[in-house]
Amino acid sequence: MRTARAIAQRELAASFRGLSGWIIIAVYLFITGVVFAVSALTPGEPASLRSFFGAAGWLLLPVAPAISMRLLSEEFRSGTIEMLLTSPVGGWSLVVGKFMAGMTFLLAMIAPTAVYPLILRIISDPPPDMGPVMSGYLLLILMGGTYLAIGTLASALTSNATLAFLTTFFAILIGLFAGLAGQFVPDVFKPVVYEFSVSARAADFARGVIDLSHVVFFAGFSAVCVAGAAVAVELRRWS
């Protein structure tokens, strides 16, 4: 795990050294900030963060793939993967390190939004219910983590970052619309399709309900994707 941490720290430092990391965070905070201001701070509106969490969740659709797309594909493209794979670093440590870097970036991006519920607490009377706020943040982190894990897998499969972005984007899109698509598939497949419906699970969280099965789904699906990425990286030696 020490090597995974070294890899994560290097990756994170690189994403903050260029402009792109800052731009992603700035855009994310700007849009969620506008949504918050319009929906919750406007007089007459209820002191709820429902719209904010809706926007924050949907924004992860383009943002998470943008964070993850270069994680491994950039190493393949630039050839630095050769230095990593000839170091005493297992594929698992490498991929976990990359995923950790993505997660840390995600948390750094989401963390400043914590001022919105604080503002609401101060200015609104009665103060907002903190239950849905907590579950909303948990959902954001779980969803973001799952998206990043899908993105890490996509990035481990190609040296083309654009391709990794698009693959991740559409995979997430399928998850988001699985509920909708579920209405049109034969009944036998319905449970399977609904299982992958991110929207259905998100709806539960929005009500302030933390269902452990949802947590297990997001965490488990992420673990499978990250493990798949580790296998994909190790298989390169046998290509």
Binding site: T3, G18, G79, I81, T86, S87, R237
Partner: protein, 327 residues
């Protein structure tokens, strides 16, 4: 100590490496030489553990690169031909990062980085971003980065690529120095470079080893037909038929691979002497002595008798063209 045992590697229909075996001992620089596309880089990548061989195995100080990958890789410092590094990192940061990948503890890192920077003469650019460095500096920072954990085995793929003659000279003394207590394998397609850097050369072409032996003998000991020394002898020829008799005499000597007579023109045939160039096979016989005594026994008058080591270039060409060449 690197041991390569009958490794094979194919990429789709391309059989890049077809059963290469050799062992590299510490103490001297070993060169892997071959034309472009010979399988050098694929071989080196399998030794470094970047690629897994389809068949055969590689061991580093006794550790199999597939069964004990982390133990084997810990012992290797491997610099790929393209010297891939992160352009946004400073040289010192990158070396520290490499230390962490190799599990060096925090107290050891600073010392190791300082030592490697000093050793490769890049201390003056330690705080510059790698992306802004010149090719020569980049190459040396790359070398420092694979040296930083002080590995007992160093593998350098085309290490003098892009260096100017002064830098090549420096690289040469550094490499020779490093080889003193390390196993050092270098690949190159440039013959004079191998000649200057290495004590031993392994020639590969078409995915197989064509020759393997010391460099300074100019190709002796490589086990190639006609790979021995060249003897130049000038013999007096006075009457017709002498040339044919000489040819028969040389042909009867078992150590002579081929005999070539100088042209029998007046200029070449000065004072009636004809110069012959004999290419000898490798062997224990001192060709000069044997030729001298044969000349004495046959009553020949010899004016010149000298032997020359074969040139490495001739041997290189011979090795590449030798049997089984697929290239």
């Amino acid at each position: 100590m690197i041991e390569v045992d009958r490794i094979h590697k194919s990429f789709g229909p391309v059989r890049a490496v077809q059963g290469i075996s050799f062992a590299v001992e510490p103490g001297k620089v070993t060169g892997l030489l071959g034309p472009n596309g010979a399988g050098k880089t694929t071989t080196i990548r399998m030794i470094a553990g970047f690629l897994a061989p389809d068949r055969g195995k590689v061991t580093i100080q006794g550790h199999d690169t597939i069964d004990q990958p982390l133990a084997a890789r810990r012992l290797i410092g491997y610099l790929p031909e393209t010297v891939p590094m992160y352009p946004e990192m400073r040289a010192r940061e990158y070396l520290t990062y490499r230390c962490r990948l190799f599990g060096l503890g925090r107290p050891d890192r600073k010392k190791a980085v300082g030592w490697a920077l000093e050793r490769c003469r890049v201390a003056d650019v330690a705080d510059r971003r790698i992306g802004t460095l010149s090719k020569g500096y980049r190459q040396r920072v790359g070398l420092a980065s694979v040296l930083v954990h002080n590995p007992p085995v160093l593998i350098l793929d085309e290490p003098t690529n892009g260096l100017d003659p002064t830098q090549i000279g420096e690289a040469r003394s550094l490499v020779t120095d490093l080889a003193r207590d390390r196993t050092l394998l270098i690949s190159s397609h440039i013959l004079p470079e191998i000649e200057r850097l290495c004590g031993r050369v392994i020639i590969v072409a078409g995915g197989v080893v064509k020759a393997d032996g010391p460099v300074d003998g100019g190709g002796t000991g490589w086990g190639i037909a006609g790979g021995g020394r060249t003897v130049v002898v000038s013999v007096k020829v006075s009457k017709a038929g002498d040339e044919a008799r000489l040819r028969a005499l040389f042909a009867s000597m078992p150590f002579v691979a081929s005999a070539q007579a100088g042209k029998a023109e007046p200029a070449a045939l000065r004072d009636g002497f004809q110069q012959w160039t004999l290419t000898c096979n490798e062997g224990g016989v001192d060709a000069k002595d044997a030729i001298a005594s044969a000349a004495f026994a046959n009553g020949l008058i010899v004016r010149e008798l000298r032997s020359e080591a074969p040139s490495l270039e001739r041997m290189f060409m011979r090795a590449i063209e030798s049997d089984g060449a697929a290239a």
